[in-house]
């Protein structure tokens, strides 16, 4: 296991590359989804208010 993490001495470079890639990809898609849903809630709230006001 240690040998695997060590990556023949290149561990720091390899794991930083994989880690940064994973974090960036996951963060971008999750943030986009969260914001899309948050804005949708605002739109719905506005629509409801409009309906109540007639």
């Amino acid at each position: 296991m240690t040998e695997f993490l060590n990556m023949g001495g290149y561990g720091a470079f390899v794991w930083t590359a994989y880690g940064l890639s994973a974090i960036s990809l996951v963060t971008l898609v999750l943030r986009s989804r969260a914001r899309a849903n948050a804005v949708l809630l605002q739109v719905d709230a506005m629509r409801r208010r409009r309906k109540e006001e007639g």
Binding site: G8, S21, V29, A36, L40
Partner: protein, 240 residues
């Protein structure tokens, strides 16, 4: 009201594509990562550091691919004035910028142990950096102009002008004989890379394509919702 055409068709398409794209993404990335990390040979020259390739090369491909998506969307938006095309370009840009940044960063992390330096000013690295700046300029132009329609079309013109950079990136390794190695997969005479390394590379590449579809759909939804919100706000001001 062509301008705010109903994106219902997009939503239907997105809903049917999303589960497929998501499953392809999970399957290919999981298997690709397995092969990349556990079941592919170390390079006889580069040792284990060659595994950075499986992150670096697909990210670089995606940086260019997403730019072309953005350029086609921009062209469509300018010529046919399709309202969703403007939004498509805007939605694609941050994804492409991220992939380009990842290509640069993972490249630097690969360059340090192999070349002894994080960065050299060779043709490939410089032209990819220019691509990153073009993404930033495109997004900044969207932000700077108040009218969304005008902002989008101005940014689209920039995106089209920036297309000249794509062939520069592609052929930079052939034009400038520098540190960066020439293409070993995308070649007319077939890939020169060993098949044990080609498989994980292609799996991750397909996974990134599927990831793009997933992320792109969510960003499209975000932009469409933002557009809806701003239209409703405008109507409210106009009506009351």
């Amino acid at each position: 009201m062509h301008r705010f055409a109903n994106p219902a068709q997009f939503n239907r398409l997105a809903d049917s594509v999303m589960p497929w794209a998501f499953s392809v993404m999970v399957l290919t990335l999981a298997s690709g990562l397995y092969f990349a990390l556990f079941d592919s040979p170390a390079d006889y020259q580069q040792g284990e550091s060659v595994r950075i390739m499986y992150m670096h090369v697909p990210a670089a491909w995606m940086g260019m691919f997403v730019y072309m998506v953005m350029a086609v969307a921009s062209f469509t938006a300018l010529v046919w004035r399709h309202p969703l095309a403007l939004i498509a370009g805007k939605a694609a840009a941050p994804i492409g910028a991220m992939f380009t940044a990842l290509a640069l960063i993972t490249g630097a992390l690969w360059g340090k142990p192999m070349w002894g330096t994080y960065w050299v000013w060779d043709g490939r690295l410089t032209s990819v950096l220019v691509q990153f700046f073009l993404y930033l300029g495109y997004m900044a132009l969207w932000q700077a102009v108040e009218d969304d329609e005008k902002a989008g079309r101005a940014a689209s013109i920039l995106a089209l002008v920036g297309v000249v950079n794509i062939p520069i990136i592609k052929f930079s390794v052939d034009w400038w004989n520098t540190l960066h190695q020439p293409a070993s997969v995308m070649r007319l005479d077939g890939p020169t890379i060993h098949s044990d390394m080609l498989w994980p590379l292609l799996l991750v590449a397909v996974g990134y394509q599927a990831y793009f579809v997933v992320a792109f759909i969510w960003r499209m939804r975000l932009e469409i919702n933002l557009r809806k919100l701003s239209v409703m706000r405008m109507n409210e001001v106009a009506g009351g």
